[in-house]
């Protein structure tokens, strides 16, 4: 039984091949999509049942961040909630911030080893995955520009006390389940609130929402 269905987007055939060998060697993982053309990837990926999509930096017609942005939007619009992991040749704070800012769930450098990659796949497939808020804040302070969203501001001003508490706990990095348990609510209520805030902010990921809210705490 395959637990994780993986997609790979990279024009470098060798890198794809290496990653495929790693994933296919795992009993619970299977590479189901390989694509070298990023524009075709944006068309094809939302139609696939994929848990994690790995997106590389070197593309023929669309490079790096532009691809991440378009891909995450296409996935979001198709209601495909697969996680996107961006990667690049090297691990760096700047690359990680950019990837998260444009909608990826996480970033990993090709200089990281395979066990880290496999561990990350397990982590990001949790539906309420969020990069540690302290790390997000650190990245934002180092690389981020001040970004505001009027719709989000409006939405935040309309929150009641319980909802505000949900947002506060979300920004502390608590999982949806943990928040629901603390506030004695149904988990779906927490998930729905976070989702509506993501919509209001016109972003596609929890990381992006957190990056905005960490600047505009509720």
């Amino acid at each position: 039984m395959t637990d994780f269905r993986i997609g790979l987007i990279d024009s470098n055939e060798m890198v794809r091949s290496g990653r495929t060998m790693i994933f296919n060697s795992q009993p619970n993982m299977q590479v189901v999509l390989e694509e070298s053309d990023p524009l075709r990837a944006i068309e094809r990926a939302p139609e696939y049942l994929i848990d994690v999509l790995l997106v590389g930096p070197s593309q023929f017609s669309l490079r790096g961040l532009g691809l991440i942005e378009l891909l995450t939007k296409a996935l979001y619009e198709a209601k495909n909630d697969c996680a996107v992991i961006a990667y690049n040749a090297f691990t760096s704070g700047r690359n990680r911030f950019d990837a998260l800012f444009w909608g990826a769930q996480e970033f990993i450098g090709l200089d990281s080893n395979a066990s880290e990659l496999l561990g990350l796949v397990h982590k990001v497939t949790k539906r309420d995955f969020l990069v540690s808020p302290s790390e997000l804040l650190k990245l934002k302070n180092e690389f981020g520009a001040r970004v505001t969203s009027n719709h989000l501001e409006l939405k935040l001003s309309e929150l009641n006390d319980v909802q505000t508490k949900i947002v506060e706990l979300f920004l502390l990095g608590e999982s949806d389940q943990a928040i629901a348990k603390q506030l004695q609510l149904a988990r779906t209520r927490v998930t729905q609130l976070i989702h509506s805030l993501i919509q209001s902010a016109a972003v596609t990921s929890r990381n992006q929402l957190a990056l905005l809210l960490l600047e505009n705490p509720a």
Partner: protein, 422 residues
């Protein structure tokens, strides 16, 4: 020496020397002291010789001081003339040999103080005393020494700073030098920037290749554990990836160790007009002309042509005297371009030599033969030839007997090449 004369470097310093001579000698003559002309002449000679023979000039200052003490009847005026002369020399020598100039000034002040100071003749008139006792004489000598040394030293510093102000701060000449220097640096920066960009692209490729090697090898480690038969395939792929990385590395290595030139720069043929103005400012009458219907060149070609003309102009400036006329002609034909940079440096040289009384005939058979046979070469010319060769161009430098040099750059297929590259 001849070049120095041809460039008329003596002109301004001789005017200063004459002015000092006439003012100092005039005062002496008014006093009826014709012997004062000797010290005046010595001071003027010190000024005149300062530009070409600084050691002689520095030696003449103490000598002139001594002559002033012996022959001048108006020592205050003579010492003042000497101070002015030191100021002029301070400027003319551009701050060179400061230690020796200090020694010269010190010696001059000592000579004056030992003679005029000790006797009290220099200060007595001002301060109304006569050197009646030994103590007064010694004090007078010491005071005179301090005063003259301070005066001479100040004169030197004032002259030096006036020179800097005149020639190095915002003067037309200074701006012309700066412009040429800036253009030269700009060319170098453009070239380095382009090299950096290409090296960056190559290193990006290299990073991808190395990443691929690591990725395939790491994937192989996992695959072999579950499927031992895959080892051969993995090794083959790793080998291919490694070879590809090595090839990129080789390209980068070759590139960084070569002298590939820039194809991207901001310099255009039109910028040569500004350069021509600068050369005119420096005394080289530079005229740019164009014949035929020009066509659009890409940036690399514009830079190539600009660089060729720039180096040719620099060469004229290096070898030809001031007053040389330079013609830069662009001859556009249907598919190509010829650039001619001509100068009449030899002709101007000969003309000045004739005006100095030297017998200079027309060019002889030997010179004519040399013109036909000799090939001019050098590092700069070789670099320009390499640059032109990129666009299938050819560069020839020839001497026109009795006239000057001509550099010709011919690009027969520039239009077609421009279309291919852009």
């Amino acid at each position: 020496m001849i070049r120095w004369i041809l460039d008329r470097n003596w002109f301004s310093i001789s005017l200063y020397a004459l002015a000092i001579f006439f003012s100092s000698a005039g005062i002496e003559i008014l006093q009826g002291n014709y012997f004062g002309l000797i010290s005046s002449f010595s001071v003027a000679l010190a000024v005149f010789s300062s530009k070409k023979s600084i050691w002689f000039s520095l030696l003449l200052f103490p000598v002139s001081s001594f002559l002033i003490t012996v022959y001048s009847v108006v020592p205050v005026a003579a010492v003042s003339a000497l101070a002015v002369a030191i100021a002029v020399v301070g400027g003319a020598t551009k701050g060179k040999k400061p230690l020796w100039l200090l020694v010269s000034v010190l010696a001059s002040a000592t000579v004056i103080s030992l003679s005029l100071g000790y006797s009290g003749s220099l200060l007595g008139g001002f301060l109304g005393f006569s050197a009646s006792s030994e103590l007064v004489k010694v004090n007078s000598a010491l005071f005179t020494f301090a005063l003259t040394f301070f005066l001479f030293l100040s004169s030197w510093l004032v002259g030096y700073f006036l020179f800097i102000r005149e020639f190095h701060i915002g003067s037309n000449r200074d701006m012309a030098f700066n412009l040429i220097r800036t253009k030269k640096l700009g060319l170098e920066i453009a070239k380095q920037n382009e090299r950096l960009e290409i090296a960056k692209d190559l290193s990006d490729l290299l990073v991808q290749r190395i990443s691929a090697v690591v990725s395939v090898t790491e994937g192989g480690r996992y695959a072999v554990a579950s499927d031992p038969d895959s080892a051969k395939r993995v090794l083959e792929r790793s080998y291919d990836a490694g070879r590809a990385a090595q090839a990129e590395l080789r390209r980068l290595y070759d590139y960084l160790n070569s002298a590939i030139i820039s194809h991207v720069a901001s310099f255009k043929i039109d910028d040569l007009n500004e350069l021509a103005v600068s050369f005119r400012e420096l005394g080289y009458n530079t005229v740019i002309s164009s014949q035929g219907q020009s066509f659009r060149l890409n940036e690399g070609m514009e830079l190539c042509v600009y660089k060729i003309v720039f180096e040719a102009l620099q060469n004229v400036r290096k070898h030809a005297p001031i007053g040389t006329e330079i013609g830069v002609d662009f001859l556009w034909v249907e598919d190509g371009l010829q650039v001619l940079v001509k100068d009449n440096g030899i002709e101007v040289s000969n003309r000045v030599r004739q005006s100095l009384g030297e017998v200079v005939g027309g060019y002889d058979a030997a010179e004519d033969f040399d013109t036909l046979v000799n090939k001019f070469d050098g590092a700069t010319l070789a670099a320009l030839r390499d640059r032109a060769a990129i666009y299938k161009g050819r560069i020839d430098a020839t001497q026109v007997a009795g006239v000057g040099f001509t550099l010709s750059a011919i690009f027969p297929d520039l239009k077609a090449h421009s279309a291919q590259v852009s």
